[in-house]
Amino acid sequence: MEWLRVVAETELDGAIAVLVDESPVALFRTDEGIFALDDVCSHEYSRLSEGEVEDGQVACAKHGSRFDLRTGEVTGFPATRPVGTWAVKAEGGWIWLARRSA
Amino acid sequence: MMAGSPSPWLGELRADARDRFESLAWPTPEEEDWRRTDLGRLDLEPFLADRVGKAGELCPWAGEPGASAGYIRFESGGCAELAISERLRSRGARLESMGMGSLQGESLNSALMRETFASAGDKVAVWHFARLEYGAFLYLPPGLKIEEPFFVDIRESGAGRHATPQIAIVLGEGAAATVIARTKESLGSSILCNSRSDISLGPSSALRLFESSNLGPGTPFFQRSRARLAEGSSLERLEVQLGGGLSMTRVDCLLEGRGSEARLDGLYYSQAGQEADVGVSLRHLSPGATSKAFYKGAVASGGRAVFQGSIDVGTGASGTDAYLSNRNLLLGPAARADSIPTLRIGNNDVRCSHGSATGRLGEEELFYLRSRGLSEAEAREMLVLGFFEELLERSPEAFREETLADLRRRMPAAA
C-alpha cells in the first residue's frame, strides 16, 4: 500500500473534504477512530463530508442516505450502493491515506 | 465571387458575443439543461485563448460540381474549396462561405445569425458566436426546387484547436433542397468543437438535412441546431453522432407555421469513455403542425448516453400531431443509458405520445446468427447495424454507406 500524506492531524475535526490524486475523499474523526470514504454519495453525487455523523455512520445531507464509516456499506435509503473506503492512519502528526486494493 | 476582407457584421457579432460571454458564468449541473453533463470535468482553459484560424481567406473556386448541386469544404477553419452549379447560381441559389459571400447572401446570413445569437441561452452557446470564424451559408430563392444534394464538409485537425463550424440554411417560399453535412476530426488531433446549424424555412419550403459528426475519442463536443418552420414547410433531418468524449448536443425545432412538419431522427453510438448527452425539442407554436422524432442509440461497455427529448404544445397549437421515440441498446455490462422523454401539453385538441425502450441485443437473434457461422463479433455488429437500419433507410446512398462504414470501424470485436 502506498501511503499518501494528506493533512495535519490537527486539521481533522469532525469531517473534512480532501483531494487525493484528484479523487475527493471525506475524512471523519469520531469517538471510534478516524475513517475515510469516497466523498461522493452513491445516490446523487453530493459530498458526504457535509453529512451528519452519528453511531458510526454518515448521513448525506442531500437526501439522508447513510453509510457505515468503516466499511462504506449503505445502511439507509435512498442510496442503494456502497461507497468506496480508504485505508487511513494517523502518524507523526499527519493523516495518511492509501487506496484499498479492489 | 467577392474579393477582399470578410463582411463587417461578422466582427461585430463576435464582439457583441464576446461581451455577453464575459458576463455569463459557466452552466452547472444545478441548471436543468446541464443536469446530466458536468462541464466542471472539462479543462476549457486551453480553448479560451483567441486563436482564429484561416478565416477571411477567399474560397478557392473549384469549378462546376459533378453530380451534386454544389459543395463547400473547410480545413481547420479555412475554406479549401467551393463549387456550385452555374445553372443553379444563375437561378438565384447561393452557396457561400460565411462573411465572404454576395451582398444578398451576407445580408440574409447576418440576419439569421443575429436572430439565433439572440436565442443563445447559456455561456457555451454564446461561446460559439464569440469565437465564430467560419461557416457555410446556403440560400435558395422562392420556387427553386433542387434534387441533387449540396455537400458541406468540415475537417478539423491540430492540437488545442478550437473549432466553431457554422451551417446556415435559408429557404425561400416553395424552395426545396437536400444538404449533406459532415464534420470530421483527423486522427491524432486534440480539438474542442462547438458547432451550430441554423435553419430558416420559408412557407411551403422543404429541407432534407443529413448531418454527421465523427470526432476523436476525447473531444469535447457541443452542438446546437435550431430550425424555424413557417407555414406549410417541412424539415426532415437525420443527425449521426459518433465519437467525441464529453458531448452535449441540442436540437430546437420551432413549428411556428400552421401545418408545418418536422421529422427529426438521430443516431448515436457511445464507446467506452464516451458520454453523450443528446437532446431534441419539438415545439408546437401553431395549429395543425406535425412532428415526429426517432432517436436510437447504442452504448458500448464503459460508455454512457443520455437522451432528453421533449414535445411542447402551446395553448394555441390545436390539431397538433406529435410523436417522440427513443430506443437504446446496451451492448455490455458497464454501459449506461438514460432516457428522459418529456411532454408539456397545453391544448387538448392534440395527438401526442412518446415511447422509450432500453434493452440489449436479442439472445435468440444472436444465437441464430452464430449458428449460421458468424463469429460473436460479426453477429453483434450485424444486429447493431440492423438496429440502426430504419433510420438510414431514407438517407442518400452515399451518406448511408459512409455512416455504416464509420459504425463498423467503431465496433471492434463486439462491445
Binding site: - | P333, A335, I340, V350
Partner: protein
Amino acid sequence: MKASSPALEIAEYSHGYHFPDESVFRTRIGLDESVVNAISERKGEPEWMRRYRLRALGAFRKKSMPSWGADLSSIDFDALCYYARPQEAQSRSWEDVPASIKETFERIGIPEAERKFLAGVGAQYDSEMVYHSIKEDLSKLGVIFTDPETALREHPDLVRRYFGTVIPYLDNKFAALNSAVWSGGSFVYVPKGVRVDVPLQAYFRINARSFGQFERTLIIADEGSFVHYIEGCTAPIYATESLHSAVVEIIALPGSRVRYTTIQNWSSDVYNLVTKRAAVHRDAVVEWVDGNIGSKRTMKYPSVYLIGEGARGEILSIAFAGKGQEQDTGGKAVHAASHTSSVITAKSISKSGGIASYRGLVKVNEGLRDVRSRVVCDALLLDGDSRTNTYPVMEIESDQVSIEHEARVSRIGEDQLFYLMSRGMSEAEASFMIVSGFLDPLVKQLPMEYAVELNRLIELEMEGSVG
C-alpha cells in the same frame, strides 16, 4: 372513543403553548424547538424520539423548497399551527358546512351517520362496534394495528428498529417537517405468514387523527405475510389547516405482499405533500394504488425500492385535476437487485384549467440481471384550458434488462362521443361513460365500495364540465 383529558399544571404552559380551555390543546402558531418539545412531551415520548424530532427540525430549516413540481410559493410556514389535538378540529356546526360538500355526500351516497364526522362536525363517527370486532380478530392473529403514539409506547423496540429507516428526515424538506411534528397515522405489524384478509382502513379507526396534517404511517409485513391497507376516502375532507405533509414507510420483508390504497379528496385549499416509500425485500411484492382527486396542490410519488432478488413493485396512479388544481404525481421504481420487475400505470384527467403532471423514475443499478420495467402514462384533457405534463426519467446501468415506457395525451374523441350519443345518450352521459372507461383499469383495483363512490364522484365532477 373515549377522549382522555389529563389535567395539566399551569407550569407546563411556559413551554410556548397555551390552553384556552381544558378540552382543547394546540401549540402556538409557528415552528421552533419549543413547539417540537411540547409535542413530544404531550405524547410522553422516549428521549430518542424527541431528539429525532429536533434533528429533523434542524434539517427542515436547512433544506430548500423543491425547485420543480407544483407551485408552492404561497405556503407561509410561520403562519401555521403544527399541532392540534383531534377534538380541536371538530368544532364546526352542521349549518356551517358548505352546501357543495353536503351535496357531494348525498351524491356519493355517504351514509348519514358518517357525514357529520367527515365534515368535521361535533360528534365523532361512532364506528366503535365495527372497529372493535376487527380489532379482536386482528389481535388473535398477532397483528398490530394502532396509531404510532400507542405503538411507540407498547412496542418500542419494533418501532425503533424501523422508524425512519425507509424515509430519513433528510430526504426532503417535507419529510423533515413531518419527522419533526408528526402526529397520528397508523402503525401496522403483520407477523410471519399471516394473511390479513380484511383491508385495514385508517378511516375506520374512528378518530380524526386519520385525517391529520402530519400523519406518520409505518407498515411492517413480516416474512410471507399479506396485508391491504386503505387510507383516506372519496368524500371530500373539510380540512382546518391547509398544509398536509404525511410520510408513509413500508417494509415488505421476504416473501410478503403489501397493498396500500389511497383515495385522497382533500378540500380545495389544501397543499398535500407526501413522501411514500417501500423497501421491498427478496420475493416480496408492494402495490401502491394512489388516487388523487382533491387538494389545491398535491406532490406525491409513491416509490418502490426493490432490494432483494425476485422483488416486485407496482404503482397505479389516478389523478383528477379540476379548476385551480395541480396534481403532480407519479411513482419511482429503483431496481437494486436482479430478477426484479416494476410496473407503473398512471392515468390523469385534467379539466377546467387543471394541471395534471406525471413525474417518475425508473432506475436500474449496474451489474444486475433479468430486470423488467414497464411504465404507461395516459392523460386525458377534457377541454382547451387544461394542461398535462409528463416528466419520466429512466436511468439504466445494466444491459440485461427490458425497460419500456410510453405516454399518450388525448381528449374525448368526437367520433366516440358521436357514436354513444347516437345510441341515445346525452353528451354528459356519453362523456362520463368514456371517462369511466378511461379510468376503469385502475378503479377495478379498488375495493368495491370505493370503486362505487369514486365513480359517483367522477360523475359529479363531470357534470360541471359539459355544457
